[in-house]
């Protein structure tokens, strides 16, 4: 059987289905992995909480498998970002303001997975309310990059990427608003997938930038992602923006014949501003694509220069409204040391939110306020419309858009935390997919000379998840054959 921790969800499913391993053995093995890491001098700090009853649930899953009442994911573990609700579990979004909040209901994605028997094993660390690119803005402290613990995991789903990359979970749910799944996947050397906006229900995902938020999946194996998406996707009557897509046949993935497929590489994301070592990995990735018969071409997409500006208007605007509900009146932190209602609001929110969250609330309220709305929010939405149109036009001609996932390789903890603007620029390659609602996958494509992971990103057409994941699988198989 070999070691369990480190195996993918699909491998474990195969073993479980054949009865070669029990759910209890699987969960215990991942738990041990987590426990042993916690004892290290610098723990990864990927999990905020590993559920103490996970093994009990595994025993039940083993029974269900015996009695033939099991779902297709029965007994398989998954780690869940701290902003995706699981009924009767805590959910804090890495924030002090949600301390003590227990979810009274499950998110649709978790519910669908649990209906098939999956066991959420723990909550993973994240930048507060998913606002950040390093997983350093968490009330629980930063997560560390498993490849080198002096480095950031990337964010905001840093905990999810860290537990997957370190074998503490085979697979994890993260969430994206501007690259929060793909960036940490890239920094930690795993696959990270953001579905098309609307493919997965947002019900029960704590809102940040509602027009871009989307649950994503992190794993070392594209087939895991396909398996999770196939179960969790599709129309949800609780989410008015969810789409009636059918990805039930997504798993198992076939490899993609890339021969003759045209791939667009935006000039704006492949030259100036891109780290040299990242550029080298991009070139190597292009060589591989050519060797498969694909045709990568450089294409100018000037609007991509505006995405960071656009994003840091739209996302904070929506966030300022979405975070208004954390007022100390009904749940979470509540500071009643003041004298009146305004004191309750001010004291609770001053104490409960971290600096980055406050920064974005200020930004958002500013761009929405009377007299500034037209100049900022409205203009950003207009440019967003143009961007969508432009990218969709390019994707009619090209199969994918290829770029690095991040302009830079993983950087050291603390190196950008005092420079928000340089932090924001980390998102320059990922944001356009969120703004244009497109599906995108980060592929572990190589390393720097220091051995730090570098991810390449393929972005596909609206609801083109299948084609994207099959391309990722093709790369994955190549790696398995030892060709890279």
């Amino acid at each position: 059987m070999g070691q369990i921790a480190g195996k993918s969800l699909t491998e474990l499913k195969r073993l479980l289905d054949r009865g070669e391993v029990s759910a209890l053995e699987i969960i215990t093995s991942f738990k041990e992995q987590y426990e042993s890491d916690r004892k290290k001098p610098v723990p990864l700090n990927g999990y905020i909480e590993f559920f103490s009853d996970a093994e009990e649930l595994a025993v039940k899953a083993d029974e269900a498998r015996k009695t033939g009442t099991s779902g297709i994911l029965e007994g398989l573990p998954i780690a869940v970002k701290d902003n995706i609700l699981i009924s009767s579990r805590k959910a804090t979004c890495g924030s002090a303001i949600l301390q003590g909040f227990t979810a009274p209901y499950s998110s649709t994605v978790v519910e669908r997975l649990m209906n098939e028997g999956i066991i959420p094993v723990g909550r993973t660390n994240m930048d507060e309310f998913a606002m950040g690119s390093t997983c350093e803005y968490s009330v629980y402290g930063s997560s560390k990059n498993p490849v080198n613990r002096e480095y950031v995991t990337g964010g905001s789903s840093g905990g999810s990427a860290a537990v997957v990359a370190s074998g503490q979970a085979p697979c994890a749910l993260g969430s994206e608003t501007g690259g929060s799944v793909r960036l940490p996947a890239s920094f930690c050397g795993t696959y990270g997938f953001k579905p098309t906006y609307g493919s997965l229900s947002r019900y029960g995902l704590v809102a940040f930038g509602s027009s871009m938020d989307q649950i994503g999946v992190i794993s070392g194996d594209p087939d895991d992602i396909a398996l999770v998406i196939s179960v969790a996707s599709g129309f949800d009557s609780n989410d008015f923006t969810s789409e009636d897509v059918d990805f039930s046949a997504l798993f198992p993935l076939k490899r993609m014949r890339l021969k003759g497929k045209k791939i667009a590489i935006p000039e704006e994301l492949s030259g100036e501003g891109i780290d040299k070592e990242v550029g080298i990995v991009l070139e190597r990735f292009c060589s591989w694509l050519r060797s498969e018969g694909a045709v990568p071409e450089r294409v100018s997409m000037p609007l991509l220069k505006t995405t960071v500006a656009m994003y840091y208007i739209i996302a904070p605007a929506e966030a300022s409204s979405n975070l208004a509900r954390y007022d100390g009146v009904r749940y979470g932190l509540r500071d009643i040391t003041g004298n009146n209602l305004e004191d309750l609001y001010v004291n609770t929110r001053t104490k409960g939110f971290g600096d980055e969250v406050k920064r974005r609330i200020f930004l958002g309220n500013y761009v929405l306020s009377a007299g500034y709305y037209d100049a900022y929010y409205k203009k950003a939405m207009q440019v967003r419309y143009l961007l969508k149109k432009e990218l969709n036009r390019i994707l009619e001609e090209y199969e994918y858009i290829l770029s690095p996932t991040s302009p830079v390789p993983p950087f050291k903890l603390g190196s950008k935390i005092d420079n928000p603007l340089s932090m924001y620029l980390t998102d320059i390659c990922t944001i356009f997919a969120n703004l244009a609602l497109l599906p995108a996958v980060s592929i572990p494509a190589g390393t720097t000379s220091d051995g730090l992971p570098v991810g390449m990103q393929l972005t596909g057409r609206m609801f083109g998840e299948k084609g994207l994941l099959r391309a990722a699988k093709t790369w994955f198989l190549k790696g398995r054959r030892g060709e890279i």
């Binding site: 979810a103 809102a207 930038g209 929506e318 409204s321 007022d327 929405l368 009377a370």
Partner: protein, 484 residues
């Protein structure tokens, strides 16, 4: 001093949809606090709104009844402000894509008919209710049962020139909403709320001066509305005399009406007015209103109460009072017209429906929509009375039975043998007549031919069309034969 009163109204109407505007909670007045709530209307993290289609239909229906133009696409926006009764920190409302625009409502004034122009009609959700304890504890509680109740906001042009006109306008709105069955418009329960904007145009030295606008709130009855507006006129005149302030000096002031003192008091000055930072609600895609839906709702609007009232008087000869009662509800007026169809005395039917049907519904606590008795049965019952078979007193008994059981009046009359003639005096008349016309048979019987009585009974039955009670008739016949 020559002056004109200028009034515009914002009317909020709570819809009677089964469920709330954006979730599936029951939509009903009152209840134990915080029992009709769910994650959506409580604004819990991760919860998302879903548009209630019935609310859209009701809004289109109301808009068409108010002669509005219906939008082909309507969108929702967030109105951002923090208050404990507003759990999300924003209200879902409509800003620049309201469902209906540009309508009018005709009112009766002393000088005849007058059209009040309607600027727009939009949908939004109601807030919860703050309850402030008055036990000295200083504690406040929030009841979220009302939170998420669908509202229509109807905004008029400042076309009204007196408190009386303003009251007529709101009464007109109320009549139509009730007629369409989309709201019960109960001002005391708050299912109809009106804010009035009022100021004066004062003509002095060939110039027109506009006094500061007061937005008057908290008018919980038509009487309160009339008094509040009358008070405002007096107050603004006095203020003009004293300070000569104009609209450009102070802008708009929000004032609350106090029913006890009969005065209005300042609630909010213009400087304190909130910046609501409206932006399109990202959780809800714009809703398309098809031409089919508009046509269907147009058909449902049909003839409105005012026109119907007139027609009932001219077509059926009803008195104004009866016409008003029947025309106030679409279901009731349809019921009346169905029953009156093909019956020569509609006035009689009208009074039957108002007193008997109305009384029955009242005691049973039913609405006319829930009344299962086909209107044709009322017509039939009237005809039975007309033919003299039963008296109108008996008819009330028949009605009580058929309202409960749904049986036809014929069946009930037969079952209860209400059609038999048992009255001795009446039967004696028939017996005498038959004996007089058949002297031979009478003579035969008296000679001992017993069978002759059968023949005579046969004649009695024929004469009464079978309605004579045979036992009573036979007894009388034997008596009379014996007498000879």
């Amino acid at each position: 001093m020559k002056y004109e009163v200028v009034i515009g109204c914002e009317v909020h109407v709570q819809l009677l949809t089964k469920t709330k505007a954006f979730c599936s909670c029951e939509n009903r007045f009152g209840g134990i606090p915080n029992t009709r709530v769910c994650p959506v209307c409580l604004g819990l993290p991760g919860a998302l709104p879903v548009v209630n289609q019935k609310m859209i239909e009701d809004a289109v229906l109301a808009g068409l009844a108010l002669n509005c133009k219906v939008a082909s696409v309507t969108g929702f926006d967030r109105k951002n402000y923090m208050y404990p009764d507003l759990p999300k920190g924003y209200q879902i409302s409509q800003y620049d894509m309201p469902v209906c625009t540009g309508g009018k409502l005709d009112i009766e004034t002393g000088d005849g008919k007058k059209s009040i122009r309607i600027i727009r009609l939009h949908m939004e959700e109601d807030a919860g209710k703050n309850l402030h304890l008055e036990d000295g504890s200083g504690l406040s509680y929030v009841d979220f049962n009302r939170c998420g109740t669908p509202l229509l906001e109807i905004v008029s042009e400042p076309d009204m020139r007196s408190p009386l006109e303003a009251v007529s306008y709101v009464q007109g709105i109320r009549e139509i909403m009730k007629y369409l069955g989309i709201s019960d418009c109960n001002m005391e329960e708050g299912s109809l709320r009106c804010d009035a904007n009022i100021n004066l145009w004062i003509y002095e030295d060939d110039k027109r001066y506009e006094t500061p606008i007061s937005e008057v709130k908290n008018m919980n009855s038509f009487k309160a509305m009339r008094n509040a507006l009358k008070y405002e006129i007096k107050r603004q005149l006095a203020e003009w005399g004293e300070k000569r302030l104009t609209l450009t000096d102070t802008g708009k002031v929000t004032r609350g009406y106090n029913d006890r003192t009969g005065e209005t008091v300042v609630q909010r000055e213009k400087e304190e007015e909130a910046d609501y930072r409206y932006f399109p609600e990202p959780d809800l895609k714009p809703v398309v209103i098809t031409k089919d839906l508009e046509a269907e709702m147009g058909k449902r609007v049909g003839e409105l109460p005012a026109a119907k009232r007139k027609r009932f008087v001219s077509q059926y000869g009803l008195k104004k009072g009866a016409a008003s009662v029947l025309a106030a509800s679409k279901a009731l007026s349809d019921y009346f017209e169905a029953a009156a169809k093909g019956y020569r005395e509609p006035v009689k039917i009208a009074s039957w429906i108002i007193t008997e049907v109305g009384g029955y519904l009242n005691t049973e606590g039913l609405t006319i929509e829930e009344f299962s008795l086909p209107p044709e049965n009322i017509t039939k019952l009237m005809e039975i009375v007309d033919s003299g078979i039963i008296s109108s007193k008996i008819a009330k008994k028949v009605f009580a039975r058929m309202a409960g059981s749904g049986e036809s009046p014929d069946t009930i009359v037969k079952k209860l043998k209400l059609n038999q003639i048992t009255d001795r005096d009446k039967l004696e008349g028939f017996v005498a007549e038959v004996m007089k016309e058949n002297p031979q048979s009478v003579a035969d019987f008296r000679k001992g031919k017993d069978h002759a009585i059968k023949f005579l009974m046969g004649r009695i039955m024929k004469l009464t069309k079978g309605r004579a009670n045979p036992q009573v008739a036979a007894a009388i016949l034997r008596e009379k034969l014996g007498d000879g």
